[in-house]
Amino acid sequence: MSGHYNLKALIKAIRSCKTLADERAVIQKESAAVRTSFKEEDSFTRYNNIAKLLYIHMLGYPAHFGQIECLKLVASPRFADKRLGYLGIMLLLDENQEVLTLVTNSLKNDMNHSNMYAVGLALCTFANISSEEMSRDLANEIEKLLGSSNTYIRKKAALCALRIIRRVPDLMDHFITKAKMLIQDRNHGVLLAGITLITEMCEIDEKVCDEFRKATGYLVKHLKNLVTTGYSAEHDVLGITDPFLQVKILRLLRLLGRGDPASSEIMNDILAQVATNTDSTKNVGNSILYETVLTVLEIEADSGLRVMAINILGKFLSNRDNNIRYVALNTLNKVVSIDTNAVQRHRNTILDCLRDGDISIRRRALELSYALVNEGNVRVMIRELLSFLEVADNEFKLGMTTQICLAAERFAPNKRWQIDTVLRVLKLAGNYVREEILAAFIRLTCHTPELQFYTAQRLYAALSNDLSQESLTLAAVWIIGEFGDVLLQGGTIDDGEEVKQVTDTDLIDLLNLVLSSPYTNTLIRQFVLTALSKLSVRFKELSTPQQSHNQDRIAEILAGFSSNLELEIQQRAVEFSNLFGLNDVKLGVLERMPPPEIRATIMGTVSERKPVGSTRTDKDTVVDLIGDDLTSPTNGNLPSSSSGPSTQDLLADIFGGGSSDLGGGGITSPTIQQNGKSTSAAADIMSLFDSTPTPTAPSTSASRSPAISPGLSSGGGAGSLFDLVTPSNSTPQPVVQQQQIQPQPPKSNLQSYTAYEKNGLKITLTPKVAPTQPGLIQILARFQNTTGEIIGGVNFQVAVPKTQQLQMQAMSSSDISAGSTETQQMRIHAPAGAAIRLRMRISYNQSGQNVTDQQDFSGFPADLTGSK
């Protein structure tokens, strides 16, 4: 059996193979032939065999049996043999293989060879594959060769020294003196290698850095020569002299100038010169400018130079070359934490890069944009980011939603804006939102009672339009369940937008729709079941008109899930169904949750900067191939995969929170809420009463408080008399009303306070606080006309301290006819324990005279808003 005649014949044979199987067969045959031939120990065929074997190796077939043969080839006196032998060693061996120790001796011999090319081969092999052990053994040889008069050898020896100190940093001392000589070398190759060596030394050991600082002057001189000398044929690259050497020098200067004002001072001028004189139209020039910028930013440069550096990066950003924009963004990312203001100036250019064609540039621009958000520009930046979110690649969305919401949390100018921002995020990318962000949003809503109606209303509208965004659905379902009563009570949204009043039936319809939507998943179903149960309690508290019907519907839906295949859902459905029957317990368990503790949302840094490809080093190739394909998509699945524990937490929260309150306020609270003449229902009653001819004092307070409040009794005999009359008026009311009044508690905390009494106009204020929302005070203002003539054009204005917030609804009528009463509802949000102080301005027209009055009122009991 014999192989092919020579390497060329083999290559041709392999290339003519039609299939991989053919190729394998040819190579197997050839390998066998080479192996047999090795056994014959024929020094003439060895060269040929190794050459063929190396080609076989390059194609990825095993060739390790040739290692020893390579060693033999190296020992040959023929230069061609040596050359191929060393090539074989470099290809077939690496520093981790034991056979390598056998090479040490050959290398040592060849380093002392009379032929400089043989020395060169040995140095080259050493520099590429030397191990730690070999580095120790041959350090002296290398040190000697560093002093060689031959530039070819000096240059290679310098890089060998580099290899040695990388493997054994302790051996650095051997080379420091020689390295200093290299700085003064006139040969570019030697200088380049020498500077590389010194750079490595300085990176390894800070103390060595001091040693080389003295040579800063030389480096500056070299750089100056390179910049100022005109054309030099030998090292010219597109009109720039030896850019590689320039880059290396700049890099070493960076290490020397770092934290050292003296040497930074020496290099200031030359850096400015390089920055201004280098041609920036081509990649070569830009590579130097880029290195210069890095150096300027890291040394103790004067501020003018730093600004210049950042401006170079700014110019890079508008370069047409993708590579230049890429490095600019990369560098700005590093700089932004140090010098945010300088980078801010290029904000618009950076935002433009969000629309770049290159995804890696978009990724970097995005990363940089996150870093640029601050109090001053949060509105603009978030607007830009949100508009980018609409078109962003899906892989960015998870990071973007997180970063936008975190920035909104940190820099929000007000709560309303923050809620709007998160709402928009949920709408745009609801399927890419981390659980922590969702939790933070719910926390925010719980802590912002003044915006709960707004938030619930917006979520309700958003969910009605789009059921496909998971996080939006979750947030909406939860908020609707928790704050269903707020939503039903109605309210105003500041910007005067028309608000469509939502009814209890609407809510059940929507939740039912969510359950049947194709986008729904187990988690959403769990949320909906909990929300429905909460709603049943909220409805009851509000005594909504359709409540009996809707309670039945809720029970029906819950029952429908009691045989669900999903264990968690089944359990919830069964538990909630049972809870449904236990009226007393239910109210306590499902009452509003105490707002969770406020804390900043913390999560691991979300970065767009991820390494590509696997970082695994295990040997199983097949597994790795599969693994590689899986790595990227898993990122997108994060929220759903990690959602398991959250639901449990949520349940624990509900039950845990409920049970602890059961004994105390938990049970009493719902009953007290019963007398809540919450806006819509109350308004209905009012209008009913208003239509009756008899001037009625507000029926509610009278009928509910057997003991007539002092405010009313002081209001004059007529008022109190009518009060007593009213209950009889209410008897013919429809059944619905009866139901309302029936569950009233025997004792009420409603009390009216007279705030104004002049010219026959009396204004009383009746505050009401729901125990579930201690910060929210509903105040009913009653305007009583005790004169005999009409009081017209009544305008009642109220102001509260800055810490509190006020919402007023329209007055039932601005004209108060003789002896009648008009009402106006207002709501105040106040922090717990705050005293309610009102400044009122009232203007009206009485018998042709315009009266305007201003008065302060602080007559409410101090504990109205709860204890601190």
Binding site: A51, I324, Y326, V327, I361
Partner: protein, 143 residues
């Protein structure tokens, strides 16, 4: 420093591989595959010549059907390595007089010799085309 240099054609056949850090054989096979899958589908016009790869980055440049890739430390100057690749290709071109893929196949051992004159120990060794070419001519004569 350079971790490895790969020259691959569009089909992913490796025409040159030089490793300056130790990798075992399986790892080398894996790296070749990964780099090819990462580089080959990238857009020539709208994408940069740099890709993050594991904890390093790959600077690559395409010449006709061949991708020249160098894997470098993440804090290295990408633009300078792009120039270095070009320098290497220019030397190859001058040496083979209009280099083509077949030159790299049939004279692979010469390509390694050229590479060793331009890069050594993972660093650029010589930046003058003429110095490299003179040296190579002389070495040719020695054989």
């Amino acid at each position: 420093m350079i971790k490895f240099i790969l020259v691959q054609n569009r089909q992913g056949k490796t025409r040159l591989s030089k490793w300056y850090s130790p990798y075992d054989d399986d790892e080398k096979v894996r790296l070749r595959g990964e780099v090819h899958r990462l580089i080959a589908p990238r857009d020539q016009k709208y994408q940069s010549n740099f890709v993050e790869f594991r904890n390093d980055k790959i600077v690559y440049r395409r010449y006709a059907g061949l991708f020249f890739c160098v894997c470098v430390d993440s804090n290295d100057n990408e633009l300078a390595y792009l120039e270095a690749i070009h320098l290497f290709v220019e030397v190859l071109d001058a040496f083979f007089q209009n280099v083509c893929e077949l030159d790299l196949v049939f004279s692979f051992y010469k390509v390694y010799a050229i590479l060793d004159e331009v890069f050594l120990a993972g660093e650029i060794e010589e930046t003058s085309k003429q110095v490299v070419l003179d040296r190579l001519d002389y070495l040719e004569k020695l054989e």
